[in-house]
């Protein structure tokens, strides 16, 4: 069992106690619909053929839905997860290869149904993530531990009775992320002395605040297929990260990023597959395309090579996913999800380096192919068997991997039990 620090454990325990009390109320009383999921999986991951130690993933999700009136719902939620096995899906988008991680989320959501199919939703969320980069480290001292709190407002208008039923949704979010244990060396007293009193990079360089607006549209086609388009614009500001100058110094200007993310989603039901009537499968196929562009005013100065790169964090990325869901109804119930994903990221200004660290004239790019399989077989007593396997293959033109791995092959295998109420 991981050693969870008190600062994180106590709030999570309190929230769990509150929600557990809610679950003790008989279902049906005062419009309470208790939802509870718990999953425990054991397995291992392999990176470039090297096996990791056998470990496990554990997750708990409690969502008691309070139907206060026919039009008003209150939905508190506690979600906690421990990740001992990093999956191939977690590694996409240059996810860090932490040894272990745990996160705890508490949220309070309100849904208000107004007339004419208009729904207003607003919620407050608090998330804390703890990471361990080595087995001997302490959870509370994780360098990349972070806490995130946010407010979210959303308005959704439905047109269910139109010839083509559709929904319009618009939202605004504000969230703030703090890394309590991370401080740049240059931002310390010692660092500032070294720099001769010049403005340093800042101390809490990872902390940021974000404002986000979103819009989405989905519709149900005559064929029964569902199509959805969404767009998210995010502005992030780093109050303690100073801008790098072409000479390697820092200004008092702060880093600010602007990200655009758009996605297209299509979901189709396919005809049943039947084999002599003894085996019947109901398949469905999804296609998801995502495009994103992130722009930042932050630059980078490579001191050993004396190379300055403006707009260092500007990049575009694309992702194409093909989730295929197969539901076996005979001779027994089984749900299989098989997904192929391709993710590609290319930096606008940042160039690739060779194995010795010399810069090339190629823009840094990375492509990741992933194959993910998930199986679930329901048993009795609200239990189901869960198993998953994932394989990710990342290839990049960045050959300088002294501090960060850009090209790798990763495999993960997990199996366990899931309980749902």
């Amino acid at each position: 069992m991981p050693n969870i620090p008190k600062k994180t454990f106590l709030p999570a325990l309190f929230a769990s106690a509150v929600l557990a009390c809610a679950f003790s109320i008989p279902a049906g009383a005062a419009g309470l619909i208790p939802i509870f999921n718990a999953e425990i999986l054991g397995g291992s991951s392999f990176v470039n053929g090297a096996p990791g130690s056998f470990s496990g993933n554990l997750s708990i999700d409690m969502v008691p839905v309070f139907e206060l009136t026919d039009d008003f719902s209150f939905i508190p939620r506690y979600c906690g997860a421990y990740t001992g096995v990093k999956t191939a899906a977690d590694l996409q988008g240059a996810g860090a290869l932490y040894q272990q991680a745990q996160d705890h989320t508490i949220s309070f959501k309100f849904m208000h149904l107004l007339a004419d199919e208009l729904t207003i939703k607003y919620d407050f969320t608090y998330l804390t993530e703890l990471t361990l980069e080595s087995a001997s480290a302490d959870w509370a001292a994780g360098l990349y531990n972070n806490n995130r709190s946010g407010l979210n407002f959303e308005a959704e208008k439905g047109f269910a009775f139109a010839d083509l039923p559709c929904n319009l949704c618009a939202g605004y979010s504000f969230y703030s992320s703090v890394f309590p244990n991370y401080a740049s060396l240059a931002g310390t007293e010692y660092g500032r002395q070294l720099m001769g009193g010049n403005a340093g990079p800042g101390t809490k360089v990872f902390d940021y605040n974000a404002n986000e607006i979103s819009a989405s549209f989905d519709m149900l086609a005559w064929s029964g297929g569902i199509y959805k388009f969404s767009y998210v614009l995010t502005h992030s500001s780093y109050p303690d990260q100073n801008i790098v100058t072409p000479t390697g110094g820092f200004t008092q200007d702060k880093r600010a990023d602007l990200a655009h993310d758009a996605s297209l989603f299509a979901d189709y039901l396919l005809p049943d597959l039947s084999f002599g009537g003894d085996v019947v499968m109901a398949p469905s196929q999804r296609i998801i395309y995502e495009y994103g562009y992130a722009g930042s005013n932050q630059n980078y100065f490579d001191v050993p090579n004396l190379k300055y790169t403006p707009s260092f964090y500007n990049f575009s990325h694309q992702k194409l996913s093909f989730p295929f869901i197969l539901r076996l109804t005979k001779p027994f119930k089984l749900t299989v999800s098989a997904t192929y994903e391709y993710f590609f990221r290319e930096y606008e200004s940042r160039t690739a380096q060779d194995a010795l660290g010399n810069y090339t004239d190629q823009k840094l790019s990375t492509g990741i192919s992933s194959w993910l399989i998930d199986l679930r077989c329901p048993l009795a007593f609200n239990l189901s068997v869960a198993a998953s396997a994932g394989f990710s293959s990342a290839r990049s033109n960045m050959k300088y991997e002294k501090f960060y791995r850009y090209s790798y092959d990763a495999l993960d295998l997990l199996a366990g039990i899931r309980y749902e109420y």
Partner: protein, 337 residues
């Protein structure tokens, strides 16, 4: 040694119970099917309605799957928008028993409900079910039977079929079974030999609606299963009974008893009712008392339907009139107020 054996048996039993098939589950969304309320419907077009709690999508899937039905009516899959947190969709049912399943788009949560389309018309009308099944029932030709055990005859169209399996259950038992989400094959099937493409078995009927479900031995595909609905009504030559719905919500059971009993008959009226909306219906005795037989041999008992709690459309009344060893019963479908 004994303790080890007991623990071993318990372990095996626990494993077997765990491996019993259950409903699909998953995700943080929950779906409830509120309508149709009754498991027995008589109209082909029904409205499926329900609620979705904590939805992550704006749509759900509805699947109408014949449990025992026509081969050319394949499972029907529909995508239904969620309005507020409710969904509603008019669907057309095939004759026979259908399973309605509502699920999230990613199929992480689903809930099922069995529906029996008893007749496309009002009242009790025999249906041609199991068209693709190799098993065909030939007797009794009628839907109603006055004999128990009932002699059931049939033939098979597949000459290689040597043995059939069958199970006989009362309709209320079927509803109770499905409410526990137990699969039909979990019932105990009895075997009948097929000789020269024909078979015969004796079905011990109980008063009310009986379902005789037969399938080729070892095959549980819905398309291969054949169903025979037999309404059994006990019949004594000395007692007659009929039921009718009168004005002011009165249900009258009346008939003649002749010289059966000492001028009195016991009239018992059972009704298929629900304790609460959405709960499992059960046959409840709403009245059981003696009725005087008049000089002409007739008797009559009136029941105020307003006093019967839990009645629903397409429910039914089972009237049983007995006097000594003589007993006659009659089933009357309730078509609503």
């Amino acid at each position: 040694m004994k303790r080890t054996a007991v623990l071993g048996i318990l372990g095996i039993a626990w494993t077997a119970a765990l491996l019993a098939p259950g409903p699909a589950q998953g995700g943080n969304t929950r779906i409830v099917i509120d309508k149709p309320v009754a498991e027995i419907v008589t109209g082909e077009s029904i409205s499926v309605e329900g609620a979705v709690f904590n939805p992550t999508d704006n749509y759900i899937r509805l699947r109408i799957e014949p449990f025992i039905g026509k081969k050319d009516f394949k499972a029907m899959d529909l995508t239904v928008p969620i309005i507020g947190r409710k969904f509603k969709k008019a669907v057309t049912l095939p004759s026979g028993i259908s399973i309605i399943t509502a699920s999230t788009l990613d199929n992480r949560w689903s809930v099922s409900k069995p529906i029996l389309l008893f007749s496309a018309k009002k009242g009790l009308v025999d249906q041609e079910w199991g068209r693709s099944s190799p098993i065909k029932f030939t007797e009794p030709a009628e839907m109603r039977s006055r004999r128990s055990p009932c002699a059931v005859r049939g033939r098979v169209t597949d000459r290689s079929l040597k043995t059939i399996e069958s199970v006989l259950i009362n309709l209320t038992d079927f509803q109770r079974l499905y409410s526990d989400r137990q699969e039909m094959p979990a019932l105990g099937f009895s075997k009948t030999e097929v000789k020269g493409s024909e078979f015969a078995l004796d079905a011990p009927l109980s008063d009310g609606i009986n379902l005789l479900i037969a399938r080729p031995e070892g095959k549980d595909a819905p398309e291969l299963t054949q169903t025979k609905v037999i309404v059994y009504e006990s019949s004594s030559p000395k007692i007659s009974v009929s039921g009718s719905f009168l004005k002011n919500n009165i249900f009258a059971a009346e008939g003649t008893a002749g010289d059966a009993g000492a001028g009195r008959v016991t009239v018992k009226i059972e009704a298929l009712v629900r304790e609460a909306e959405g709960s499992i219906p059960f046959l409840k005795v709403v009245v059981e008392k003696d009725a005087q037989v008049g000089q002409k041999g007739n008797y009559r008992l009136a029941l105020d339907l307003n006093e019967v709690k839990g009645l629903f459309e397409n429910s039914y009344f089972l009237i049983t009139v007995s006097a000594g060893k003589e007993k006659t019963s009659r089933l009357i479908v309730f078509e609503g107020f």
